[in-house]
Symmetry: D2
Subunit: 284 residues, 4 copies
């Protein structure tokens, strides 16, 4: 079993010598690089890097690494984020009444596929309490509708604060988070039940059926104020035919949704996803 590692995500203006500067800093402190991925967006003039190194024998104490990498990033004119592989984030899963993504995520977490601590499940409906109970996860029933959205979101944000949540996963949560919510908490991943940007908005499977598509899809993305417009992390498509009714599209789509969300979440939890300028770089 490998020891814990530190993961630095850095973004800065592109110029010669950046890979050397980053890897040199790690080496100078005695670190052994396990993964190093870089991407240059030539159009944007930006350099993105993800470096992961083992903490065993690293020259800096753990609490000194973040300040040091922040200083390094500042020297390069950019910004960095530091993570440790042995500090899985506390996550809240938001659901409504559909359980397929929830069951899948809880099973995958138990199976060790998703390095996170599911601190609680929040729902505007009571139906999925039993599922959470069977996995031993706290369930918070928090009714919310158009009229009560402001108060409901306040309550949700209080729950996130109370449980020290770092990431929210919308696993078929059939409500739109308000801009006010997102202004206060913006680490949110959603699974949309279409191959975005096709069929943005409501009832994508009904509209896909009407359009007579031959593939349906699902898109996992970060949530922004623009509905279904946030940076895409992962997309999955599956074939359908004229024999498939809307109910079949919904059924087949559940498999696409489960796969896309689980893959995207694993990438995010392992800090393999960097977001910039409305898009993602995914170091898979």
């Amino acid at each position: 079993m490998a020891s814990a590692s530190a993961i630095l995500q850095l973004i800065c203006p592109d110029r010669p010598g950046l890979v050397s500067a980053l890897s040199g800093w790690v080496a100078a402190n005695g670190g052994n690089i396990r993964h190093a991925d870089h991407h240059t967006d030539a159009g944007a003039g930006l350099f993105l890097s993800r470096i992961e190194w083992g903490l065993d024998g690293f020259g800096l104490p753990r609490e000194a690494i973040a300040p040091a990498t922040a200083a390094l990033a500042a020297r390069l004119g950019g910004e960095g984020q530091l993570h440790f592989s042995d500090a899985p984030p506390r996550v809240a899963i938001f659901v409504s009444r559909q359980d397929h993504c929830l069951v899948d995520l809880l099973w995958r977490t138990r199976a060790g596929e998703l390095p996170m601590e599911v601190a609680l499940v929040v729902s505007n409906h009571p139906q999925l309490a039993g599922v959470c109970d069977s996995f031993g996860i706290p369930f918070a029933h928090q009714p919310i509708d158009a009229a009560s959205r402001d108060a409901g979101e306040e309550a949700q944000l209080a729950l996130l604060a109370e449980h020290r949540i770092a990431l929210v996963v919308l696993a078929k949560y059939m409500q739109v988070l308000s801009p006010a919510f997102l202004a206060r908490f913006n680490a949110v991943i959603n699974i949309h039940h279409s191959f975005l940007p096709a069929f943005q908005g409501a009832q994508p499977y009904h509209r896909a059926w009407e359009r007579g598509v031959k593939l349906i899809g699902a898109t996992a993305h970060f949530v922004t104020e623009e509905l279904d417009g946030g940076p895409i992390i992962e997309q999955v498509t599956m074939p359908v035919s004229h024999r498939d009714e809307v109910d079949d599209l919904i059924r087949i789509g559940r498999d696409a949704e489960r796969l896309a969300l689980a893959r995207a979440l694993r990438l995010v939890l392992r800090h393999q996803v960097m977001v910039y300028r409305g898009r993602t770089a995914v170091f898979a």
Copy 2:
């Protein structure tokens, strides 16, 4: 080698006994059914059927079959289309300057994958004359632009009539056919370089890049007056990543376009595709 077959496509209001009526008619005339596919669109109350039987030993002379099936269809309150497998349609391929779909279609035709007779290639640009020449296919350079569209389309329609064309394939033809053209000739297949309905219209790969999608696609569809809105026959997607620039999306997309168009065209040429109410049933 199997003998030639007759293929009946029939659409009529759904009611009990239709499969029996159709297959009974074939059997009563001594035909051996090779393929029989049926689909009921319950919402529309429609029954769609494709029946293919061998002509060897069939009781009706070839020229009597179409009238007989038309009478049968009329009795069922519907409409039928009859085709013979040994009468490949005469096809015109419309292109502009990109040759990937053209080369692919001509090669597949030569390889025996596409049962059609490519009577001519029509282009608004002169560049692909050499490709056609190497495959021994007539090439008609027919310049056309916004100002000359009406006259150009007249000339195109005259070519279609002169060459007795039954089907037009738009193989990266970068012009929009006018409603007037389609009113006079509407058996037209197009390959659109996106996963419709995402990125309808121009420059889909540029827009796909901007949106940061993780899959790109191609859609083969029948052409209607509504731009990129006709019945979909086949769709193909391929994975892309943040490393792929617009040029890479275009390159990878060429493979999706070639596959989607070739698969769709083969299905159409074998009369496996039925169009109704803006959608297709594909008996693959």
Copy 3:
């Protein structure tokens, strides 16, 4: 909601008039055909048919249909199997210690995707009792190993008889059923963790890693005496890369296994799969 339907699977020597004979029989008894699929294996000289019709208003009482279709099949020189859509089979799921397929199947059954009654789960290990309990399914712990296989299989067969099991699903059951077992109960589906016939036998992911494959797969198949040699129902592949260790192949493979097994089982439960001469026709 559609009423219940009868499903006839028939296999007989090919000759003209079979589609008509079958559909004519349904029509003569007042049945409305919902789906009719046929396949001719020209090399084998065999005709395979699956016909599904609504029971509402059908002229024969339910108990008379099976004898009538058996007589019809006999007249055609073949054999038929009759099923009713509202009589989901009683199924036993065999597992060992891995739970991914089990959780998936139980969830899909609860979600209405799999028309079966899971009568019990049988395992040679005790670990998955809790999973079954959370879904309210009886769990039978039946230890078995090489030395105790005969006695263990006797006990398993007694369980199958006691619970009137019609189908056994091996959902990562890491034991081989003996020819003696299969001689007495042969309706068994297995999920094999490779793209058969690659990597038959044990430890396919280790061997796939050693071989450096770029795709891994899973195969759902009927079980026969020949290890991993039974008729294939469904296969799924997923991409892997040099970055993936054996553990990653196992993890990614779990998704392929879940999908392949669930798709295959749904097809079998809806009587869309016909087995003949060591292969399957899948009327999807």
Copy 4:
């Protein structure tokens, strides 16, 4: 348009500081790294790296770079290979009678997808001379069979030497190269018409049909003495059904073969593939 770049592939025993040593060397000479990919095979204790940097403004003259990187690799106890992006390798394509891969490769080369110079096509049959002629590529008809293999391979090797060939692509060349040939020329890529290791050897589509598989595949790999056993570069699968005869599998397989070979060859030509211990690392 980016200027030309140098590409260093290096493999050496793993130890801390390697990324820094490599990138530091590039930076110290004023190079701007465009891509840097690394992989550690922990089991083998090996570090693999591919670094690409722009030649514009690089401190060393072009002819001095290879000696300098060789010295660097030696210091690290490993071996390096240096390539320049503007020096496309001279390639010979070996074919027999099937033209689908050949037409595809020649078209892709003309379209700019494959950075290589096709110096000649070699065939043991005369049929494809016309295809080569239409693309302006020299064609060498070199009959060969079991009896004449030694002399034939001598003639082939002489052709490779005469044309200064760096890479041979077997594009449906239906002969096995002898160990003696490979001992003298081993930069050879092959496309095998199955999803290896399934169906090694002859007639894979016939055997796939007999086995009743639901997916067929193609595998692009480096050629070694072990038949169909060399390092895998790329694999593609496509769905088939019981309706597909052997001829259909062959037809559908052609698409898998074309895609797998073209993708693999592009990766090799861009020096994105590293071979070690019978496997590949593909930095895509």
